[in-house]
Amino acid sequence: MPTILVDKQELFTLLNNPSLNDSEMEEILFSYGLEMDEVTSERKIHEKERGSLATLDYSDDVLYRIEIPANRYDLLSTEGLSIALHSFLHLAPPPKLIPTPPKIDLYIDSAVDPIRPVCLAAILRNITFTKKSYDSFISLQDKLHTNICRHRRLASMGTHDLDTLTPPFYYTAKHPQDICFTPLNQPGDIKGTQILAHYSNDPKLKKYTHLLANHSKFPLFLDANNTVLSLPPLINSNHSKITLKTRNVFIEITAENKNRADIALNALVANFSLYCDPAFTVETVNIHRNITHTVETTPHLEPRRLTVEYECIRKKIGIDASAHAINTCMQKMMLTILSYNTTNCIVSIPPYRADILHACDVVEDVAIGLGFDNIPKKTVSFYREVKVPLMHAFADVVRHTVAMCGYLEVLSFALCSKDECGAFLMRQQQEDTRAVAISNSNTSEFEILRTSLIPGLLKTISFNREFPLPVRVFEVGDVVLLDPSTDTGTRNDKRLAAVHTGHTSGFEEIHGLLDKLMQTLNVQKSPGAFDIRKGAECMYFTGRGADIYYKDAKVGSFGILHPRVLECFGLGFVASVVEVRLAPLGHLI
């Protein structure tokens, strides 16, 4: 979940409600689905980061750190948040964005198609920045880059001082050797061939250089005089940098995915056209594609219309509210009622409410508008036969039996290292011991999925050296095996494993545990039913391992562990183990 820092005073001024206190604010945020993470200040943040008292340079103005739901891109700035809360608290109609006719053209060269094909633009005219709103403008772009743009990969934006540039604009792609400009806040020109290397150590921008690394051409924004505006998605030029004095802002967005570009652009213009004169006017731009000769005008600010049935809303929430009450709830959530009758209404969804995909999203808005606390809570009951998977019940019988035999149950991870289920058990990499492998683990502890429960038990014992001997532990759990017959190509296999470790081998104890389990499960010991045969598994001491057969199929093994196995797991005592598959024993195959 993204979080934003909001200046308390600024927010309250924008909300026109200076008398709220912090806990009242927290309550309002909670009921809207936002969370007050902390009440802080610039100074406190710096003191926390640096661990020392900050100098006088830092402000003591109260800041709220607020957690925003991941789909509400329109709330990622103080401005956007205050607009939404203004509607929520005072039923203020949401700002209606007014697109003005295009005056400026932008041409897309097909050279960008293989790299970053989508381009949108917008202009904010007669804007007035203050220090705070300027900072907020920059911060919102950062938040959008991180979230909806997925770290600039799916979309990225540049904002420019229009008065320093000469339209029309060109979005093209050039070979690095043909590029040279002064990037934002740099002292001089940097060549295209050097730009990735230059930013590869930049703490903020290094994470974006890989987005261009494999391309022979870099995307580039130019004006009519070939002045570079930006090299998306990496950096803007210093030439067109916006400042507190900027009055006209040109915004360009380039992207892989058009929907995300639309959402990001609309969030940006919706939040900051507030400072334009007249407020909420956005100048559109004509986007020309030179191959198809199509012209598109952006941004797309037309509100969407949705017809919703009151009865549907009542049924989904479980309320008995009047049409009027439901309308009020929708208005609180920035939805405008265009028309309504007793059964349904047509709502207008502002272009910046990208989170509304379906009528069910309007249902949620009504529920929030109403307040979750005000929804009557009712259970329904219907009779249905209750079922538990047979294996779960069977596994519980086995767990209880083994525990009653004096064994302690442990719970080990399904993920383990290759060695633990392989070399440590002296197993060869044969076909039948191959394991499901993880491709992106950060640690060698989690390389594969366990193919045996024994390593987990031995590790647990090795971490419990103080426990009095003999140590008797067991686990009933799933191992995961390759199985081409399932859709994922893998299968969980429920096993029981138990270990007896102490000064003597404990072989007879483990054998006795197996016998007791079989007797509990009503399995007779006779050839063709349950029988024990000389085994050949490598993890056992020579001549001290046996295979367990059930109905002439091998279902497990038991024996005294080989001293080398004990050594691999750091155990200084003798140990006997048993591991057996549960599905055949429970007739659950």
Binding site: K377, K387, L411, S439, S441, T488, G489
Partner: protein, 495 residues
């Protein structure tokens, strides 16, 4: 010991009472051993009664004991002087504590010294015979005849550290209600032999110390986390929910994400949140009709939805992963439910492992257990979801709940569940919930007026709170403390 005990009982039968200290003097017997015998008689039950008495007594110090036996230092000096006299240094060498003895003998006028003798100072006897009074006093003390000594003598000896006053605990012994003069050995255990021979009737049994600890049984134990799982399973069963089969740790991205309307660019699908499988890398055999519908609703929308408007790729959906939640299983169950000829309202739950590629710390593991409940029925409301959640948490002992609007990709409306924590005095998040989106349910083929409501929480968190465990690694994995499993009490979630 038994001999002494019987002797004491005989004395008691003659006199009816005695004091251990007096008796020890009378019998010239070590008091401590006498007390030991009385104590063992006392342990037989009501054979005797004892009353503790404290008194003070004069006793010889080690030096005093030596004097009582061998004579005082001054007497020893006197005795060591031959008729012709002796060199002083030689004399002092012959007698231990010679210096003290010499100066005492001098002041008593028993001996004299000729300092002008030609081979050094020479000591000779001054009187013909002496009387060793100090030795006599010490012998009187030894024989408990302290009353024959004058206070002046007592003080003199005390000053010379020959006697000291000590506190003595003695016992005044009387006959008890079960008094008898013979003691048989007390039995500790009632044995099968005694019952067979009937000898138990004549034996007396040693009283049992009921405050001592019993012998710990060599018992096995179930794991604390799984004990809590049993309780949660019980809650669901009481509420009429059936358990889903969750025996597939490896899941395809399709069922884990795509079927849940979670877009392919969603951050949860990044490598730093989810474990991807290298082998087998991809799943195959999807229900293709359904898959096409999922693809459509993601890429261009449908069922009244705008969709996410992006290029949905089968390759991304086919990627195998370690399931990040059990909701993929729920999706499979709901899909199966939708394939049936007639929809039947259903209630399902599961409690099983899920996996996240997280940085491990005291509260995060790469695997943990997720608890999930869901209800599918015609016309379920958000109020019904709240009702079910309240019922569920009430059984778990939590009565004060609040709901906060939230965002999940596959539920709308979505609610985080908060409970009031009496210890922390604030609302803490205890779970997540919501109504499954139509974009998830309708492609499966569920009837349009069927709603599915669901909630989930982790198993570890309530268990850690219940048992006061602050580090999750003590609960799950090899670093568990076996002693804690042994000592773990029963689990009742409602208390």
């Amino acid at each position: 010991m038994a001999e002494l005990s019987e002797k004491l009982l005989t004395i008691l039968s003659e006199r009816n009472e005695f004091d251990t200290l007096d008796l020890s003097i009378e019998l010239q017997f070590d008091h401590q051993r006498l007390v030991g015998a009385v104590k063992s008689l006392q342990s037989l039950g009501d054979v005797i009664t004892c009353e503790q008495r404290n008194s003070k007594q004069w006793e010889l110090t080690d030096e005093g004991k030596e004097i009582a036996e061998k004579g005082s230092h001054e007497a020893l000096i006197y005795e060591s002087i031959p008729l012709e006299g002796i060199n002083q240094n030689e004399l002092l060498g012959r007698v231990p504590n010679g210096k003290v003895g010499f100066s005492k003998a001098m002041s008593l006028g028993w001996i004299q010294i000729d300092k002008a003798a030609k081979d050094g100072p020479r000591v000779t006897k001054k009187v013909e015979a002496i009387e060793d009074g100090v030795k006599e006093i010490c012998q009187l003390v030894k024989n408990f005849q302290i009353d024959k000594i004058t206070d002046q003598q007592k003080n003199e000896c005390k000053k010379r550290k020959l006697i000291s006053e000590v506190k003595i605990v003695s016992y005044f012994v009387k006959k008890g209600t079960d008094f008898k003069t013979s003691v048989s050995k007390q039995e500790i255990e009632l044995t099968a032999d005694m019952i067979a021979s009937g000898s138990w009737k004549d034996k007396s049994f040693k009283p049992y110390n009921f405050n001592a600890l019993g012998l710990p049984p060599a018992s096995g134990h179930l794991h604390p986390l799984l004990k809590v799982r049993t309780q949660f399973r019980q809650i669901f069963l009481e509420m009429g929910f059936s358990e889903m089969p969750t025996n597939n740790y490896v899941e395809s991205s399709f069922w884990n994400f795509d079927a849940l309307f979670q877009p392919q660019q969603h951050p949860a699908r990044d490598a730093h949140d989810t474990f991807f499988i290298a082998e087998p890398e991809e799943a195959h055999e999807f229900p293709m009709d359904y898959l096409e519908k999922v693809k459509t609703v993601h890429s261009i929308g449908g069922y009244g939805s705008q969709g996410y408007k992006y290029d949905w790729k089968l390759k991304e959906a086919a990627k195998n992963i370690m399931r990040t939640h059990t909701t993929g299983v729920s999706a499979r169950m709901l899909y199966q439910l939708a394939q049936k000829e007639k929809f039947t309202p259903s209630k399902y739950f599961s409690i099983d492992r899920v996996f996240r590629n997280e940085t491990l710390d005291a509260t995060h593991l790469a695997e943990f257990h997720q608890i999930e409940g869901l209800v599918a029925d015609y016309g379920l409301t958000l109020g019904n979801l709240m009702g079910y959640i309240e019922q569920f948490f009430k059984k778990y002992g939590i009565k004060k709940l609040r709901f906060k609007p939230a965002y999940n990709p596959y539920t709308e409306p979505s609610m985080e569940i908060f409970s009031y924590h009496e210890g922390l005095k604030k609302w803490v998040e205890v779970g997540n919930s919501g109504v499954f989106r139509p974009e998830m349910l309708l492609p499966m083929g569920l009837p349009k007026n069927v709603s599915v409501i669901a909630w989930g929480l982790s198993l570890e968190r309530p268990t850690m709170i219940k048992y006061g465990i602050s580090n999750i690694r003590e609960l799950f994995g090899p670093k568990v403390n076996l002693q804690k499993i042994y000592d773990n009490p029963l689990c009742r979630l409602d208390k």
